[in-house]
Amino acid sequence: MALIDLANPTRFLALVARALPWLAAATALAFACGLYLSWFTAPDDYQQGATVKIMFVHVPNAWLAMGVWTVMSIASIGTLVWRHPLADVAAKAAAPLGAAFTFLALFTGALWGRPMWGTYWVWDARLTSVLVLFLMYLGIIALWRTVDDPSRAGRAAAILTLVGAVNLPIIKFSVDWWNTLHQPASVIRLGGPAIHPAILTPLLTMALAFGLLFVTLHLAAMRNEILRRRVRAMGLMQAHAAQGA
């Protein structure tokens, strides 16, 4: 099925209805495995002790925080360049999810930082740029809510999303450029991951679980958004008819 087939909202809704139960089940399964691995098989880190378990929640959410903005950026290009009908639906549905994951990354990071570094927060490059990312998510959501017409809102949000995408490489490489407090990259780097498999496996499983969670929620939220636009269109049509009668 080509991408263009998905452009038909009705067909998209049918596809989502069929796929969601499977996705939800896969997500639940992945979380079950991930949580089991994190809590029962992952060894304590020799330096951090059991608090390394926070990493299994913190890192996947941090990855998703950036990943969701990337998804939104691709959707924005779809809106501005190809005028794909569902592109701005995808962008709008992703924003609250991305904000939630970014919040979790910041929150769990603070809880990890307190025992490890002695402080909940520090203004180093990585934390600051992720906080800015969180503010940008909130700004995008605010923009969506301020403009009445969904397609105009979509175009405005698309531009703002692409401008904000400049922040993503800054976040990714900030820990390498400015070595302040947050540790440098240890998984996604040239030369492969630098973490022991016993810790890497639970991490990747939890990352898979959160990723599947995003896909599931995203498709469901897209479905909701399509329905919302139908409600709006029908409401407008009805008001128009009542006015004309």
Partner: protein, 221 residues
């Protein structure tokens, strides 16, 4: 080229007219910098330490305040449509408006800084550093603000949306502006943050008009 020059002169004239709001920014800047010692207390040593930061935040907020008049007035009387249909490329038109805005809003802030620096007990060297960084950084604030102004031009109930959109994008400018100022005061490492500040300004001179032009095309339909 004459079209753009005419636009520049027109915008500058409109800005300094009564109701144009050009010098309001400087007034706000003055108020913010004056309020701060009331809140912090007259500890001169402390004020000197955080002086550059206060000046930068004041300049940032004052720039933000004046941004919505960038496109709103033109949108209301229809001249924005004329600009969009004009022969000059939209991005250059937008850049010209940004230049007029900076000359009438950003530059007065830079000129007012030495006086305000005295209020904050800054040394002449510190004042010079802050003036230089503001000179390099206020164009970036204007160009980044362009994007928010263009996005919210057609929104009647824009309200605080414009600052909310623009402020996260201006954070790097603020960080490096203050870093450069502080580095000049302590005497080491001015070059690197200042270069990055200049790079941010140059980048925003390109990105701002591009994004603002795209936003105007999409929004004013």
């Amino acid at each position: 080229m004459t079209a753009l020059a005419a636009l520049l002169v027109r915008d500058m004239r409109l800005a300094v007219r009564i109701g144009g709001g050009a010098l309001m920014g400087v007034l706000f800047f003055l108020i913010v910098v004056t309020l701060t010692p009331f809140a912090i207390g007259p500890d001169l040593v402390l004020l000197e330490r955080i002086g550059p930061a206060i000046l930068w935040i004041g300049a940032l907020l004052a720039s933000l305040l004046a941004l919505d008049r960038l496109f709103a007035a033109d949108h209301e009387d229809g001249s924005l449509d004329l600009l969009l249909m004009g022969s000059a490329p939209l991005e250059l038109t937008v850049l010209t408006k940004a230049l007029a805005h900076w000359i009438t809003t950003g530059l007065p802030l830079v000129i007012a800084t030495p006086l305000l620096g005295l209020f904050l007990n800054l040394e002449p060297q510190a004042i010079g550093a802050v003036v230089l960084t503001l000179l390099a950084g206020t164009p970036a604030l204007t160009c980044i603000g362009l994007i928010g102004a263009a996005l919210s031009v057609a929104l009647r109930r824009g309200g605080l949306l414009l600052p909310v959109l623009v402020l996260p994008l201006t954070v790097p400018v603020l960080i490096f502006g203050v870093a450069a100022s502080n580095a000049a005061i302590t005497g080491s490492g001015f070059g690197a943050p200042f270069m990055i500040l200049c790079a941010l300004t140059l980048g925003s001179l390109v990105l701002g008009p591009l994004a603002a032009g795209a936003a105007l095309r999409q929004g004013v339909e």
